[in-house]
Symmetry: D2
């Protein structure tokens, strides 16, 4: 069987999720090539070796540049901090590797554009890890929308709210610093819901009007120095949206939404039905259709099942539920099929660049006070 | 016992709800005066007489001006179509009557201003029927916010979405015509959520940026003529908000939100907790607080009970549930206490005028494309 | 207009609910006679006079026997403690009055039988206040079942759980004493769910096997004497059921179900669909049907609306919600129509006697350890 | 690193789930030995070879006896049909292998007893795949109960309802035949909820009273012969329960519960709180506690997070959700730790035997019509 050698950079939350998915994917799905956990890079040799054992990689290195240039590596899988995405991706592309990167692709649209250009001129395949669009329930939502079951779309409402910085005494970290994170909640979480909006509706967001706010302007420095420093990006943001198909909508994103843990949610309204989804209940989708007698209409809870996209590979029985890592398993299937079988990869760098452009446009509209084209 | 004689104008949905509430209120609450269903006006004598029997009023008239000037009437209760509110209220005030009017107060802020001025110079008492703020669960929400239990407020999200014009083949009616309705969804339903935003937060909305859309521009004429006419106001609208206390937020309102029947809902986020409410489950409030060990935190469902505002008058046992008309019963209690005992009435014409000003500002910002002061 | 003079005995929780409903019903519904709040009885003249003013009754008396024999009273409405139901009902029947009594009808099937016999030989009309069956959502459930929309019934599951004695240090009261309450949770709450089971399925429960338990055998005496006394009836009970149509099922009832406030809930399963209802969300019904493609099936939330039984009288718009007292308003409509227009009254004393027989059979089966016929 | 060689028999639903979990477990958890997918058995060589490739096993065989005796195999993992469990397990034990078997352990308590005896006299380790008890939310429930947070337990209510035979025209299959399945819904699904009841409460069920019913007595023969045959076991069953700690409870199980897909659910009531769980929303647990002011109490939704058992290995962030297969990954961790590190394995054959004894006692009580000891 064909193999595809993966070189993973970074072993935090996302690095481990990628590793789990790489291990499970060939058993869940019938893949055109076997993804091999070949090489792992971390900040130093020792940590790299330790993590390679832990996550099941054959070799390890303390130098990500060595990984990028390793002749056995087919795909560079970037789970390093966001501010390193650009440099690593450009190096990987220069070395002729396919690139699988976590989101957001870059800290700015300009950076993303450079990455897109490099990828497109080199011809390597790219995929960006907006994993929530691979969840069966959300794929089902797209299918329902695309089929016209809920009629013409009239409104999109989305949010991705969490509360990891809800406590005003939580210290500064990489999230709060523009050089490491770019935008704040808007970049970290808003990127998901903006991507989701386009994925679900099949339309492009063409104009935005945004509002950002840093609620806690100063936070304790990390460590216990007693000092304080400035928060450099938004704690929460919201925007009104115009889509190219005529749809309007709005999104909201926050890292201080007390109580929300994985608060990605959307409502898509059409002329003949509506969909409501909440990622905290990721294995169900609420569907309303204007069918049948008035007195028998209502939002119905569809539990994901084998009739829905990609579910049957995990379980033949409905309602058994997918988990977070299962989304990544589907993503790996798409990655392998995209590279080996030539299926279109979505979102590739080009599609992910749109997300950066939307973020930049929301920030610009906030500053300038008027609608801004993406 | 003291009495307060009510003259009701209009017997549609709201007129009947007022009548039911007037009948039940003195038994539910201990009132400082007994509200008497004295006189009812409809468009002609016959209908008025019929409705008076049906709704339990002593006398009736086909001429609302006669009602307004009737010496026995203490309070003019206006449940007539919105476009008549101004004329009726001004006449009632001129006759020295207290005025209890349904929302929205007027079709424009200018009209509302005239009504406020008249009421204030005459000294009569006024109340506008934004009944959802009287629901026990929502009064509880305000109490929780005001007490600081969820910390400093950081965000308000609200919507009032329904689907009564979701079907694009539904004909034109008074809702779709500017002369009879003023703004569309924004006036009819958005008025509730804008009032709610200020009621809950205890802050004023000072600046707005709105977007309106008429999705179905032309609809069949009423009757079966086969002809079509123009829809003159918004099918749905959304706005970003700035409050005077620093809070930001957004609202959404729609009459084409397929599947939503009584879709008023809000999420209020504070630094130490959050509240989530949905009027379709009007007897429960979701509360999250950042208290206790992390692993035991979650949104909890508070069922309204005797510890909560005004519930015990309806039932001594928790969870038994209030209904739509119970909100009106509370409103009647407030009306009677406001007039007879001098308790402050909220929202009186002055507070309701704010709602008209917010609607106008949202419309203006939509046209002009920039933030607009209320 | 015809009138129907009501004599109310007892002004606790239920007495007030009856009074509210009597006041509102003629405005909500078009009734064949106007129910007049004529006479009110309480334990002494002073309290009776005070309550008559509060609840809006014309006259009052400290002697319930005087009420029963008052020539102007057409209907004796018994909201007195359960242990008095029998004596009062027999006196009322003897005086030729119609009787409207709160549930449970009696403390035992033998007592109930005597009441049935008296009522039937005298020819007066009777109605027992199992109000939960009048809720629109539950009437809708019955309609769906009766129409065959969910196929042949295969299973009934019901519970009525509350937590009013959940705290083991709550003192003894009338609920815990056999002479005043008869059975414990089974009589107070179980009576509702047993009646509901027959109402919904349209079948009779013919055989039961029950289990009762008194979890807290001794509780503090009322007052602060420091003494303890014995609890004389069940804290919770459960039973397996056989229906005459072949259906099986089970019920559960508790007064120590920590967290449950109005925990009446049922699931009715048929060969082609299912219904799920929870009284704590009394204005919605979950419906599943095996229709349409597998991937689009799910429990749907029906919000009560004008297409559903009795809802339109309260509101012309769906989703606005009924409350606890609205159920009583519907009950009053049924009472008046039953007495004045001769519509069948359900549950009359005869039907309510069944509930007492089921309770007795559950208790007997518990003692004897085998299936027991009702 | 140490290895543990797995020999898998059977590659249906459960076989694949085991394979996925075996692949992912070493990356999710830090294991004391690496589980190697060594040998796979299916009904013939060809299918076995095909499945070995598909599921990632090194070798394959068409003869399960060869697998059982293969010297490299350390653990025999039985995912074959239930009626083969006994023969396979006895052979594996005779060959000195540890046994990991799917539930139910056997078709009867007598069979299970023989298996227990063999395992105990040989000293091999055993584990039975009641995977739902490994879900983080359910482990959390056990933790909360064990810690006394909800006080003394007073009631257990559980169900495991599905609808895979809801359609009366579904043909006969292995589920409906006593020789292949033993009990019907009671054996297939009831086994889970009975095991769950003991796991959660930490108490043994000592006495039961059950009721079984075969609603659809005859079903079409498989294939399209047009013939019909008899269903030999229960379509649904219910039982009242007595636990050795004084607790009472009831369970319900069904394969004809129209609309239920993965309908395992429980409510555990204590003197100071309650827990409610539904496997269709497997990543959340509802907790009520009688703490704080009355007006702030309610069931709260705990989303599983890193503070809860085993969750952090999958994700460091709360609310991201576990899926069905993640339960099996936790089970593999327990298997490996039990065998390699000597941690107690639960439920081993001995504990699983209890489930068979409970099933048999429920069936016996149904036939004999009285309480039956387990």
């Amino acid at each position: 069987m064909k193999t595809l050698n993966i070189g993973l950079i970074g072993t935090g939350f996302m690095g481990k999720a990628h590793a789990i998915a790489l291990k499970a994917a060939p058993t869940v799905f019938s893949l055109p090539a076997f993804p091999v956990c070949e090489l792992l890079a971390e900040v130093n040799d020792e940590l790299a070796a330790h993590k390679a054992t832990e996550l099941g990689f054959t070799r390890s290195t303390g130098d990500w540049r060595a990984l990028v240039e390793d002749p056995k590596v087919d795909v560079v899988d970037i789970c390093a901090p966001n501010f390193l995405h650009k440099e690593m991706a450009l190096a990987a592309i220069a070395a002729g590797k396919h690139v699988y990167a976590e989101k957001p692709l870059a800290l700015s649209a300009a950076d993303a554009a450079a990455m897109v250009e490099a990828a497109e001129s080199s011809g390597v395949k790219t995929l960006v890890g907006f994993n929530y669009i691979r969840n069966s329930a959300t794929q089902l939502a797209r299918e329902i929308i695309a089929s016209g079951e809920i009629g013409e779309l009239v409104h999109f409402r989305g949010r991705h709210n969490e509360d990891y910085l809800s406590d005003p005494t939580s210290p500064l970290d990489w999230h709060t610093c523009r050089a490491t994170a770019g935008a704040g909640a808007l970049g970290d979480l808003g990127s998901h819901i903006l991507n989701m909006a386009e994925f679900l509706t099949g339309q492009h967001i063409v104009e935005v009007f945004g509002q950002l706010q840093t609620v806690t302007a100063r936070r304790p420095l990390p460590g216990n120095s007693g000092g304080f420093g400035e928060v450099e990006n938004d704690d929460h943001a919201q925007a009104l949206l115009r889509f190219d198909g005529g749809l309007i909508g709005n999104i909201e994103t926050s890292r201080i939404a007390t109580g929300r843990k994985m608060g990605l949610a959307y409502t898509v309204t059409g002329t003949r039905g509506s969909l409501v989804f909440d990622q905290e209940r990721m294995s169900e989708l609420q569907l309303y259709t204007s069918e049948g007698p008035e007195g028998r209409r209502g939002f119905r809870t569809l539990l994901v099942g084998p009739e829905h996209p990609d579910y049957a590979a995990f379980s033949p029985a409905a309602g058994h539920g997918l988990g977070y890592n299962d989304q990544k398993i589907i993503e790996i299937r798409d990655l392998v099929e995209g590279i080996v079988s030539g299926k279109p990869l979505y979102p590739d760098f080009h599609a992910a660049w749109r997300v950066n452009r939307m973020i930049d446009a929301i920030e610009a509209s906030h500053v300038e006070g008027h609608w801004t084209r993406v």
